[in-house]
């Protein structure tokens, strides 16, 4: 870990903050060019920020985003691209919902039901990601390709299973289709917030716990060290006795298990059923959030909250007559500019360090001195 000096803190903040300012400027230009007043947007967002319901929804959305980001980050730390978080969480949510909604669960105590549901989701997520890991270590198949393909396969499997002959129930008069509603005892109660019709998901704490474990395992255990070492230099890791194959499998399984959790806050806290309305695409958002938060447990939390808030202001923007698509544009520009900004700061840092080392050794010569 780097020591915390004011300078290093400033350097750490300049990239994300600079990217946000840049994104705001680009969005303002786009709004002006399409004949909208950027201040209307700011106004609408400020209004949204004062509405308890929007804040609660933002926090709830951020919970899923955060879990998804952690799942992606576990792979990222080892240079593994788990693009399949999306398929993993959807498949896991469906099967967990099928289990949680099954009649035999009614007789079990509430805690056991919730624990079984969450465990099932983690197992399914891990298994689905494990397929990609297996292909990678045995046949050398790139996990990028295999996880993307597994996403498509998951879509078909989910669609096949989510039918009345299998896991779903069809209700008269409804055009929706989904697993039976989880009864009271299988749900995770939320927290009432004054002035908001939505409750804060109880599983917000699950996300916090996962974030803590992610930090702990990576920075305080031998496994975490080996994982990071493999990511930084595979050959060095091999030389020091790390089994890369084992690391690939374990980290993909962990990534998949966390991915399995992504759908849980929504399933156990709000929808109580996996239906056609279950949110999609959270796995891809996790990639952006992990990038923005630099795979750091706190950084990703801030990024997830920002993403959740932006997503939930869309209705307010729409109401104020600002095209809601500006949110997509903002998010896109933020991701792109953050990646560029981090790179610029990294280069600056490397150069500054080289200079500092040079000075410390007292042997540095400026370009003029060299040519002189």
């Amino acid at each position: 870990m780097r020591s915390l000096t004011p300078r290093s803190v400033l350097l750490g903040l300049i990239a994300p903050v600079g990217a946000l300012v840049f994104a705001a400027a680009v969005s303002a230009v786009i709004l002006l060019a399409t004949g909208h007043d950027p201040f209307d947007t700011v106004d609408a967002m400020a209004t949204a920020a004062q509405r308890p319901r929007t804040l609660v929804n933002s926090l709830n959305t951020a919970t899923s985003y955060y879990l998804s980001a952690v799942a992606v980050a576990i792979g990222f730390r080892m240079k593994l691209f788990n693009i399949g978080v999306d398929g993993q969480y959807r498949f896991a949510a469906l099967l967990a919902a099928g289990l949680a909604g099954a009649a035999f669960m009614d007789s079990l105590p509430s805690f056991v039901r919730v624990a079984l549901t969450i465990l099932a989701a983690m197992l399914v997520g891990a298994a689905w990601a494990g397929l990609a890991a297996l292909l990678k270590v045995t046949r050398g198949v790139s996990e990028v390709i295999s996880t993307i393909m597994l996403n498509a396969i998951a879509t078909y499997l989910v669609s096949y299973l989510n039918s009345p002959e299998r896991l779903a129930v069809s209700t008269a008069g409804s055009n929706n289709i989904g697993t039976p509603k989880i009864t009271e005892g299988g749900r995770v109660p939320g927290f009432e917030i004054e002035g908001s019709s939505s409750k804060v998901f109880g599983l917000v704490f699950l996300a916090v716990l996962v974030g803590f474990l992610y930090w702990f395992v990576l920075s305080r255990t031998r496994f975490g060290f080996e994982l990071k070492a493999t990511g930084l230099s595979e050959s060095a890791a091999v030389a020091s006795g790390v089994s890369v194959k084992k690391m690939v499998i374990v980290s993909m399984l962990l990534s998949g298990a966390v991915a399995g959790l992504v759908g849980m806050p929504e399933l156990l806290g709000s929808s109580y059923s996996y239906s056609l309305n279950f949110p999609v695409g959270v796995g891809f958002i996790g990639i952006a959030v992990a990038l923005l938060g630099r795979n750091h447990p706190i950084g990703m939390a801030i990024a997830a909250l920002l993403w959740g808030f932006l997503f939930n202001t869309a209705n307010s923007l729409d109401t104020a007559g600002v095209p809601r698509e500006i949110v997509d544009i903002m998010q896109g520009v933020i991701v792109l500019s953050v990646v560029v900004a981090y790179e610029l700061v990294r280069r600056y840092r490397v150069r500054a360090e080289q200079r500092a080392v040079g000075h410390a050794l007292g042997r540095t010569k400026t370009a003029e001195e060299v040519t002189a």
Binding site: N60, T171, F284, D328
Partner: protein, 357 residues
């Protein structure tokens, strides 16, 4: 380090690309149409109408646009103030509920929700705000979105599809027809069930090829003409000579394939023979299964205007004129008598068309 950087950039671009791919093209002017309109002198009461679209919103050339037509008609006739909001991909129940609540908080009453995705949120918000009148299209589920202040506007797509199925069988020379569904959901399966039954009613031994373009939650099947074209071409190659496109915007591709193979197609939702966007291929469209969402929206608004709001399910079936087959282009004039005979039998209850397989 070089690899790290490349990898990081690649991930950024990938995340962006995947994110953007999910957005699809949207028409931007739906959000900005919230301006106040002065009430026409004809309006007895000055209503503020809120309308929440499903994903795609105004400009989807399909279901949402049909609702928009009904709204536009009411707006121009009565001069009401309207506010249109639109759903985004990746939403949960919370965002849908928030949308409806924002309309209610903005003083909009009645509020119209387009699509079954709003079932739960309409139920919740309507329960909390008993003074506001709601309408939901395509859903009427007991215990979810049925209530004293909710009108459930549903359609008998199966009945309309039965008639175009009969038309297909009567017009087919090969005894082999096709059904292209946009996305494999219970709603589109209703079209398939009716169509197949209509075909078999005319020709019991006819072959019906069935293909859905995508599986949920991949809803691109409603807006991917290339997929529609490939699917239809496959059916024509396998001997079909008429294909029913129950696939929203993907239908364009089906008609294109029909034209290229000198075969025929059947449209859906609106009278597609008369759609300007389909002028090139309209000569292959023998009929369309019309689902009058616009009429339902307009009827609902005028019922509220006249103080005659009726809660509960209103079925727009053949009897109510909510679904029908189109005759534009005159390609089925010769079998019109037979089709009307079937139509009468369905209306009188002699033929019952099931909704599910």
């Amino acid at each position: 380090m070089r690899r790290t950087r490349g990898v990081r950039l690649a991930a950024g671009l990938l995340a962006l690309g995947l994110g953007l791919a999910g957005c699809g093209s949207k028409n931007n002017d739906s959000g900005s149409s919230g301006g106040t309109t002065t009430a026409g002198s004809a309006a007895a009461a000055n209503l503020k109408i809120g309308l929440a679209y499903d994903i795609g919103g105004r400009g989807d050339q399909s279901f949402n646009d049909s609702a928009a037509r009904g709204l536009d008609k009411a707006k121009s006739e009565f001069g009401f103030e309207v506010k249109e909001l639109e759903a985004a991909a990746g939403e949960t129940e919370a965002q849908k509920e928030d949308r409806l609540r924002q309309l209610v908080e903005g003083g909009y009453n009645p509020v119209i929700a387009v699509g079954f995705a709003y079932a739960e949120s309409v139920g919740k918000v309507a329960g909390d705000t008993p003074d506001v009148q709601f309408a939901i299209i395509d859903d009427a589920t007991d215990g979810v979105d049925v209530g004293k202040n909710i009108a459930n506007l549903t359609f008998a797509e199966n009945e309309g599809s039965y008639l175009v199925g009969a038309a297909a069988a009567l017009k087919s020379k090969t005894g082999n027809v096709g059904f292209v569904g946009g996305v494999n959901t219970p709603l589109i399966q209703k079209f398939e069930v009716g169509f197949t039954m209509g075909v078999k009613a005319v020709k019991a031994d006819a072959t019906v090829q069935v293909k859905y373009l995508t599986q949920p939650p991949d809803y691109t099947g409603f807006n991917d003409p290339a997929k529609g074209e490939t699917a239809a071409k496959g059916m024509f190659d396998a001997g079909a000579d008429i294909v029913y496109a129950a696939a929203g915007g993907s239908g364009n591709g089906v008609f294109k394939a029909a034209k290229a193979n000198t075969k025929l197609g059947i449209g859906v939702d609106s009278d597609q023979y008369n759609q300007p966007a389909l002028a090139d291929v309209k000569d292959v469209i023998i009929t369309s299964m019309i689902k009058k969402v616009d009429v339902a929206v307009y009827d609902f608004i005028s019922s509220v205007k006249n103080g005659k709001f009726v809660a509960g399910q209103k079925v727009y079936d053949l009897k109510a004129g909510g679904v029908d087959y189109a005759t534009s282009g005159g390609k089925i004039d010769d079998i019109k008598a037979k089709l009307d005979d079937y139509k009468q039998k369905i209306i009188s209850g002699e033929i019952k068309v099931p909704e599910k397989k």
